[in-house]
């Protein structure tokens, strides 16, 4: 039962909020309460998974592979825990910054349904069910993105919606063909049946369809254009959740299917993934170098960072995948934090344009410091979390003699630092170009505390992971070992 709770709990609270639609004050408190509940549930879940190994729930008592099964292995539960943490951080931040217009139109219930979709995608063990969770997540993210109806938002939403629907159609076609090949939709059962097909080449063809579908969702190299066109348009709290979680669901799905189902021709598929990873790392950071908008720079860096995670998958060794998982943990926390800081800067100055910003360090040294921690972590400066994540994937690359991608990864680390120092210089260090314009002051203590609290919390997590990386790395390593030994997963789902 515990394993279904990360899905049921946000659903329950989302519905509860809809029951008294007009009382949005209550929505925000319920949202906070729900996020605390989710954190507790997810910690209990990961604790049990560490203790007992993979746990499963056959829904409605229909035994796998015939019914839909929910599976929590270590990788899934890690993702559920981070989702809950990000949910909590945004719940606090939304209470401080969200405007009444959005709250009136159901911002909080939508957020809960979004989190339900994300958790569902992480926990399901059925590939068609994964499609359904993707759609749940997408439709709520569509509304969250468009809510407010400003011109940039609607334009961003159009690009986001169109490309994501295209990806869903490809995913659906892939599922259909896969079912035609193997006659099953259960992921563990697929892993058993696909190697025994008459023509294994067909599996590779389908795997590329999945690579494209999930590639669009996780914004990898030639398919990322929807991301920098849309992520900088909604309010900071929304773009923080999107930046932290949504693309990572795509990465999760990629890692899941390319470690469990499509492992018949690793030398072909995983080489493609590795090449894509290198190009993603490079184009993302080069795109960022040309931007002068706070959130657009950060959006391009998401793409670049996705490359590092995919690189872990492409290298396909125990250390590489562990590094990839560590990278996901680190990235979600740091990226959400950076978007929250950018939102706070926007609260003070009502702009994200680097040319118009400046001089913030003099007035708000604390904000500067809180930006610097995740920014340096993102560029991989020791002893913060980003250093260990980069170190693990790069070390795995060196061990496997993949020097090209290692060179790209190291070089891009430098460029990331360049981008972060650019933001630091333009926003905090240089003289304020608009001296005559006064800063917005936030006098309300409650608002101040509520917007600082999540930023400080996430910065602390980055520092803790950085200074005490061993337990985090160990758990990522264990998750990677589970992923690389699909027999454990198959046995847990199908029995003997």
């Amino acid at each position: 039962m515990l394993i279904a709770l990360p899905i049921i709990s946000p659903f329950f609270f989302g519905i509860l909020m809809m029951l008294f639609w007009k009382n949005f004050k209550a929505h925000s408190y319920l949202n906070l309460f729900s996020s605390v509940v989710s954190v507790i549930i997810s910690v209990l879940l990961i604790d049990r998974v560490i203790e007992q190994g993979i746990i499963t729930l056959q829904i409605g008592g229909w035994k796998a592979p015939f019914g839909i099964v929910i599976v929590a292995d270590l990788f899934s539960s890690i993702m559920v825990v981070i989702t809950a943490v990000i949910g909590f951080a945004t719940a606090l931040y939304s209470m401080a910054t969200m405007d009444h217009d959005r709250e009136k139109f159901g911002y909080y219930p939508l957020l809960q349904i979004l989190l339900m979709g994300i958790n569902g995608a992480f926990l399901t063990g059925d590939i068609f069910n994964l499609y359904v969770w993707f759609e749940v997540m997408l439709i709520s993210s569509f509304v969250l993105l468009a809510l407010g109806g400003k011109r940039e938002q609607l334009e961003g939403a159009i690009k986001y919606v169109t490309l994501n629907l295209l990806s869903s159609a490809l995913f659906l076609a892939g599922v259909g063909i896969l079912y035609g090949l193997a006659g099953t939709l259960n992921m563990a059962d697929l892993a058993v049946k696909l190697p025994n097909l008459e023509d294994p080449e067909m599996t590779t063809v389908v795997s590329i369809l999945f690579l494209i579908a999930f590639g669009i969702k996780s914004a990898v190299f030639p398919l990322f254009f929807w991301l920098p066109a849309s992520y900088h348009t909604p309010p900071a709290a929304v773009s923080a959740v999107f930046a932290g979680l949504l693309t990572k669901v795509g990465v999760y799905a990629l890692i899941r299917v390319f470690t469990l189902i499509f492992v018949n021709d690793i030398s072909f598929t995983h080489t493609i993934i590795l090449v894509i990873a290198a190009l993603t790392i490079l184009t993302g950071v080069l795109g960022a170098a040309a931007q002068m908008n706070f959130r657009r720079i950060l959006s391009f860096h998401i793409i670049s960072q996705i490359g590092y995670m995919i690189m872990g998958l492409g290298l396909f060794s125990s250390l590489a995948i562990a590094g990839g998982i560590l990278y996901i943990i680190h990235h979600i926390i740091v990226k959400t934090n950076l978007f929250l800081v950018s939102g706070f800067v926007n609260e003070l100055r009502s702009t994200y344009d680097l040319k118009k910003l400046g001089g913030l360090y003099k007035l708000y040294p604390l904000v500067g410091l809180l930006f610097l921690i995740p920014a340096l972590s993102l560029s991989g400066i020791p002893p913060l979390s980003g250093f260990w994540a980069k170190y693990s994937v790069i070390k795995a690359g060196i061990e496997l003699d993949e020097f090209y991608i290692v060179a790209v990864a190291l070089f891009v680390g430098l460029l990331t630092l360049f981008s972060m120092t650019k933001i630091w210089h333009e926003v905090f260090w240089k003289k304020n170009p608009e001296e005559e314009k006064t800063f917005n002051t936030i006098n309300n203590t409650k608002q101040k505390v509520l917007s600082f609290l999540p930023i400080i919390l996430l910065a602390l997590i980055t520092i803790i992971i950085g200074l005490n990386v061993e337990p985090f790395f160990n758990i990522a390593q264990k998750a990677a070992d589970q992923l690389l030994n699909p027999e454990i997963y198959i046995k847990a789902v199908l029995g003997n």
Binding site: F128, Y131, V132, E135, L138, I139, F142, V143, A146, G149, K150, R151, E152, L154, E155, G156, A157, I158, K159, V161, T162, L165, L166, S168, A169, L170, L172, A173, V175, G176, I177, Y179, G180, G183, L185, A229, S230, H232, T233, Q291, M292, N293, R296, D353, L354, K355
Partner: protein, 115 residues
Amino acid sequence: MNLLLVIIIGLLYTAGLYMMMRRSFVKVIIGLILLSHAANMLIFTVGRITKGNPAFLNKDGAIFEPFSDPLPQALILTAIVIGFGVQAFAIVLFKRAYQTAGTDDLDEMKKTDED
């Protein structure tokens, strides 16, 4: 019958992708709809089609081979419902964007590229 369906699916994909590359809002939506129909038809065909037979058992109560698989049809049902909701949302979104931006040309949608 199968061949005919395969050709239709191919045509739907072609038409859908072609329409999605047009600049007008309405054509993009039509493209999206055609594309989701194509995916649904694909799954339908993949589940094997038997003409004029009941689902599993013939008139004498014996299983006949090859019977058509009912699961893909259940999948399509789910996919149609989801697609319906998403397309309805997309239509409203495109309409709002048209009202706000005053144009239905996708090439004019450049506001997100400005700083």
